[in-house]
Amino acid sequence: MSQRVLVTGMGAVTPLGVGARTLYDRWVDGQIGIVDGLGRCSEFVPADGLSKKDLRRTDRFTQLATVAADEAIAQATASGPLPRPDRVGCIVGTGAGGAMTVDDQRDRTAPDAPATASKRFSPLTVPKMMSNAAAGFIAIRHGFRGPAFAVASACATATDAIGVAMHFIRAGVIDVAVTGGSESSLMPFSISSFAAMEVTSATGISRPFDVRRDGFVLSEGAGIMVLESETSAVARRATVLGEILGYGASADAYHLVAPDPSGAGAALALECALDDAHLTPAEIDYVNAHGTATLLNDRAETLALKTALGQDAYEIPVSSTKSSIGHLLGAAGAVEAIATLQALTARIAPPTLNHEQAEDGLDLDYVPLRAKPLGRRPGRPAIGLSNSFGFGGHNSVLCLGAAS
């Protein structure tokens, strides 16, 4: 019998502020963390959590992940330390890794770069830019000696990281996982590259599922969960925040960036997640959509939900965190799973903000503008799904449950 995988810690740094609780409370309250068309973590002060030496040696994506991890680990260890550091893994993904570090050093190879000083390459370039930097840094910082690595599947990254961590715990490889994702690439190089694909919003307004939607808003941030085997959590008397009930993943096998318009790949991932959790659509209380606000995603995702959930799709509240904080790319799945678990615990679905005008065929309950209670199955711990889909055709879905 495989282990149940419980959530015992959560941490987030997002455009809404620092802290998992801040993320959820401000989203439910209808606040938007997007300024001038970008979702910067403007309340994040790296020096609050990291020493001068740590700051020099880390890219911003690692700094965001480290502060989120510190929050999650502090929560998980409030009842006492983790007794077996060799059985704690760090599985932390990113889309682009230390993109800003690369961008900064890139200028030094330009033919017209000024002499000497600026042509000097830092010996910290590689350790700052590598995609596994956050996973490695968190392991070093906390002395966790289990498997540590990054996962990459573009915007599905963090969901896949959490899914992999869940399987590592179920399989008994580790007892505890520090897992999630981080992203920070809000520089001209990255902004222009996404704009060239015509996937980012020209208006700078994130309007998931609205007929006026014009793409996603580029954001930064990190989300980290501490997952723990039931045996370990019970032995430590840890406070249980919820449970990872299942994980499903698939590939569209269709196109490098465009989603399969039928939503077949996404539907397959949803069905796999439900199967893995041994649940039926009738038992789902809430869906946290990928909901990027691109023309294609929101249509394909709606079709996928109808395919996988059948008639239940019309009764389940579906909302998009991206309406409040934009798209955190490789961090999105973790931040959204953290928001989902809090929604399930509070039994309140946060709203899809900016959603005012429906589109033909986009006819699910997207929880427009105002939060609403989750009332499908009163008296039982609420259960939800969190979707993430990435360029490359990656579809990943987590099934989460409130603590019983």
């Binding site: 000497t116 000097r120 010996p123 910290l124």
Partner: protein
């Protein structure tokens, strides 16, 4: 022709560079060991880069093995500067 580099100039540069790398200025002295200041091989590469730019002398990985304290680094570099002139 630049004026001759003095040992105290090297000391000032090394102290400043170390302070940028992490240690607090008040903890930095000639007698402080690199270990106590938490200065590792990656830091030493950065120090070597600064020194090469400022004084035109190279510090290699072989040299690094000989350096235990901040004073060792200053003395070694001053020796190199003298050899060069």
């Amino acid at each position: 022709m630049p004026t001759a580099v003095t040992s105290s100039q090297i000391e000032e540069t090394i102290f400043q560079t170390l302070a940028e790398l992490g240690p607090e200025l008040e903890d930095i002295s000639r007698d402080a060991t690199l270990e106590a200041l938490d200065i590792d091989s990656l830091d030493l590469v950065e120090i070597a880069q600064v020194v090469e730019e400022e004084f035109g002398v190279r510090m290699t990985t072989d040299d690094v093995a000989l350096i235990r304290t901040v004073g060792d680094a200053i003395d070694l570099l001053y020796e190199r500067v003298l050899q060069q002139s």
